[in-house]
């Protein structure tokens, strides 16, 4: 609106004075009306704002990792933070995952709250000794004397055409370890809320982002933008309600599941999509409640199928809601191969939207014949 006014009256300092003299109330009203509309935020901005707010709220929070400072972040997640907080609190590290992860853990032992960024979680394998042995186990080994309020974050899972060594999903690996909390945000709201919760949490948190989601925009409400906004760790979100089948997914797969649910709804199948948000602890209550409602379950993940997240969810449902299942639990996962490079092979190695529909149709057809 103001833009249109500018074009009519011309630009320059005169405009502001004119507007202020003639219609101050109307201008204010126009501004107010504009901000009340639904805002969209990319996941990248959500993460950046969460980091910014937590660092300004608590001076013991600091960020360390490769390229987080002067390069503004390998994926620009930490853009602007170096200028705002200085090199004392936004540290560019040398390429020494084992070393700087251990340094983060040691700083956390002494009460600081580090955020360690891995350029991708594949590189966390070089530091996994510190994540598990010095971070996850320390509160237990010291009988509560030494807690480790650290966050390990970075992109996880497959990107596009980056090859086998850059494409692995580590959700199942870290979710296996007692002493860690593992979070997998999907939308901008998840990213903001869960990252803030992770930074405030007194325990080691693995925060698995996804590179392909960084640029995606999601609508966010005013509460989400509030600086005290925080999501609970260990609670899933029912992204879409349904009654015929439950689909659990996390990270990028939530988007695919929602698309699949849309396609299925046109064929008369109403799917309930659960965004897990937290792999450890898993929101078993929500998953089981949903399965008891729909009686069918499909688990979706991007990672390798054996010993994956889906296996754990299936077991949880078998333990708690076995009588409610009308059909065997179906698992959609990545192919059991290291990620190939060729574009067509890569597409085949990761679940696609079409994989969902075919499995679900099969399941439901099976159910109807019984």
């Amino acid at each position: 609106m103001l833009g249109a006014a500018r074009r009519q009256l011309g630009s320059g300092p005169m405009l502001g004075q004119v507007l202020r003299r003639l219609r101050p109330a109307a201008v204010a009203e126009a501004t107010r009306g504009y901000s009340a509309a639904a805002k969209e935020m990319t996941v990248r901005d959500a993460l950046n704002s969460a980091l910014d707010e937590e660092m300004s709220a608590d001076p013991s929070v600091f960020l360390m990792g490769e390229e987080v400072g002067e390069y503004q972040g390998a994926y620009k997640i930490s853009k602007g933070l170096l200028d705002k907080y200085g090199p004392d609190r936004v540290l560019d590290t040398p390429i020494t995952e084992a070393g700087f992860t251990g340094i983060g853990v040691g700083a956390a032992y002494q009460g600081l709250r580090p955020i360690v960024e891995f350029m991708t979680f594949n590189f966390s394998m070089q530091a996994i000794d510190h994540i598990i042995n010095s971070a996850a186990k320390s509160n237990y080994m010291s009988a509560g004397q030494i807690s480790v309020p650290i966050v390990f974050r970075g992109p996880n899972g497959a990107a596009a055409g980056v090859g086998a060594q850059h494409s692995q999903c580590y959700a199942a690996w870290y979710a296996h370890v007692p002493g860690l909390k593992v979070l997998t945000p999907y939308s901008a709201e998840d990213a903001r809320g869960l990252l803030k919760a992770a930074i405030r949490d007194p325990d080691p948190v693995i925060f698995l982002e996804n590179e392909l989601l960084y640029g995606e925009s999601f609508p966010v409400s005013a509460e989400v933008l509030d600086s005290s906004f925080c999501l609970p760790i260990g609670k899933a979100k029912i992204e879409r309600e349904g009654k015929d089948v439950t689909i659990t997914a996390f990270s990028k797969m939530v988007g695919y599941a929602l698309q699949a649910a849309e396609i299925l709804s046109k064929e008369g199948i109403s799917a309930e999509v659960i965004n897990l948000r937290s792999i450890r602890p898993l929101d078993r209550a929500a998953i089981n409640a949903s399965v008891r409602k729909t009686n069918r379950l499909v688990t979706v993940e991007e990672g390798f199928p054996q010993h994956g997240v889906g296996s754990e969810i299936c077991m949880s449902v078998v333990e708690d809601s076995f009588e409610y299942l009308d059909a065997p639990v179906e698992r959609i996962a990545g192919a059991d191969v290291p990620m190939p490079y060729a574009a067509n092979l890569e597409r085949m190695a990761v679940p696609q939207v079409s994989s969902f529909s075919s499995i679900l149709n099969f399941l439901l057809a099976l159910a109807h014949t019984v």
Partner: protein
């Protein structure tokens, strides 16, 4: 104590002079431009760098004596008795651990520190409560020196609920938050980055949070062995500690053995202290069997770190009198019964050669092999690994000679244990105290008696303590188990159902 002992006071003087006038500001700075920030912004390009080997000094290795030491280091009577008491506590405690282990009270992996007490006492007794110590699995004596009561350590080893970690850590994982003992790590090299992180936190607290201690920065001391100095994390942390000028001292307890791997067999350049200057920090080598020398070096390094001048690498030449752990039969360091001259080995190999070649045409390989083994076992000087390598493969004269050469190479090993036993740090300090009239024989005896009572009492306490309750199994996995955004009223901070439910608009 040798008359010419090491004074470390000046080992950094040449370095400071060469740094082109750019020296670290005195602490506490409180200035707007912190040295920390400056050091990190510099990124190394204009960083005062130590370029020559003058940053390296050793009082043990010939040809490397940077300073000629004039007098013995000064130590007061109280200090000397304190050092003596601490070392005796370490020794008596570890001996008691061995006894308890063989009686089944202690179990699992137990690694004893006998012989290395001078290093622990020399460094840790100069630290404050707020300074941190990070150790390896050989951590009982570090815990004791740092002030953890002997009864807590003993109870921890017995796996009782009154241990310093309530029985959840064990021998290899001693933690004590009030004493700033940050572990106790089983993995080689794992403690070094953690220690570097603790030093980072000390510097951060000073520079960013503006919480200064009265003496300067809180210092962290990382103890680790010679085997660890080949590990990647060691070098990564030398780099980052110097890059960011962290208040840390890297103390290498070079006892020449990593389980059964001799330091010389594992390391391309065995002089570890030289690796410090490669990263720009001073590297010092000191006789780790002499607690006063260690203390001198410790004072210099710790004071330097407190002033914010950065890390130091200290290599302490020391020795462990017992095996790697109580489960280690310690065969590779077995002392020889006799020390044979070189010519004997030559003749022995000649005889072996003749005997075996005579037999080669007449008997089966199996018998040949057994005879070969018998021959060397009879000499009882060749370790079993050399038998396999050289004597069974072929019986040429060259191989016999080679085996003799190897024997000679290793023969100095057979002096090792007695060589270091003669340099026992406790007897050396005792001798020094009596010679310098810092204490009488009876005073020292009463200290020993007192320590023995302390350790006995610790054992009784540990024995009488209860095992952990069953409920302890699931405790302390998380500091905040419910965590998850639960506020003080017990409800989730974001109970708004909008955040856990919704029908998506795709």
């Amino acid at each position: 104590m040798a008359a010419a002992s090491f004074t470390a006071a000046k080992f950094l003087a040449p370095v400071a002079a060469r740094s082109g006038g750019e020296k670290a500001p005195p602490l506490p700075a409180g200035a707007s431009s912190s040295s920390f920030a400056r050091a990190m912004r510099r990124g190394g390009a204009h960083h005062p760098r130590l370029r020559t080997a003058l940053a390296v000094s050793s009082d043990v290795l010939a040809g490397n004596k940077a300073q000629a030491a004039a007098a013995n280091p000064a130590v007061t009577r109280e200090e000397a008795l304190e050092l003596y008491e601490d070392m005796v506590l370490g020794r008596v405690f570890e001996d008691m651990c061995a006894q308890m282990y063989y009686r089944g009270k202690m179990f699992g992996f137990v690694h004893l520190y006998n012989g290395q007490e001078a290093v622990s006492t020399g460094f840790i007794k100069y630290l404050n409560q707020a300074d941190c110590v990070v150790s390896t699995y050989r951590d009982h004596v570090h815990a004791l020196s740092k002030g953890v009561p002997a009864r807590s350590v003993m109870a921890e080893l017995f796996g009782k609920a009154t241990g310093c970690c309530r029985g959840q850590g064990g021998s290899m994982h001693m933690f004590s938050a009030p004493h700033n003992l940050l572990g106790g790590f089983a993995f080689i090299g794992e403690g070094i980055p953690v220690a570097t992180g603790a030093a980072f936190a000390a510097k951060y607290r000073h520079e960013v949070l503006k919480q200064s201690g009265p003496d300067g920065l809180d210092v962290t001391v990382a103890f680790f062995g010679d085997g660890t100095c080949n590990n990647g994390q060691f070098f990564e942390c030398l780099n980052m500690a110097q890059l960011w000028k962290l208040p840390i001292i890297f103390v290498v307890e070079n006892n020449l053995w990593a389980i059964g791997m001799s330091h010389l067999r594992a390391t391309s350049d065995p002089e570890i202290f030289k690796k410090g200057p490669a990263f720009g920090m001073p590297g010092v080598h000191v006789d780790g069997m002499d607690v006063l020398k260690v203390r001198e070096v410790a004072k210099e390094a710790i004071d330097r770190a407190r002033r914010g001048e950065g890390p130091t690498l200290v290599e302490c030449e020391t020795y462990r009198f017992r095996g790697h752990s109580l489960a280690d039969p310690d065969e590779l360091r077995k002392p020889g019964k006799d020390y044979f001259p070189v010519s004997f080995y030559f003749f022995a190999s000649l005889v072996k050669f003749l005997v075996l070649t005579r037999l080669s045409g007449e008997m089966e390989n199996g018998i040949k092999a057994s005879l070969a083994k018998f021959a060397v076992v009879w000499y009882s000087v060749v370790p079993i690994e050399l038998v396999n390598e050289t004597l069974l493969s072929d019986f040429s004269f060259l191989s016999s000679l080679h085996s003799s050469y190897l024997i000679c190479q290793h023969s100095d090993r057979y002096d090792e244990k007695s060589h270091y036993a003669a340099r026992d740090p406790i007897t050396a300090l005792k001798k020094y105290i009596i010679e310098e009239n810092l204490g009488t024989e009876s005073e020292l005896k009463s200290i020993e008696k007192k320590i023995e009572d302390v350790v006995e009492e610790a054992v009784e306490f540990a024995d009488a303590s209860p095992h952990p309750p069953r409920s302890q199994l699931l405790e302390n996995v998380f500091a905040d188990p419910k965590g998850f955004g639960i506020g003080p009223d017990g409800k989730y901070r974001c109970e708004d159902p909008k955040f856990t439910q919704g029908t998506a608009q795709v």
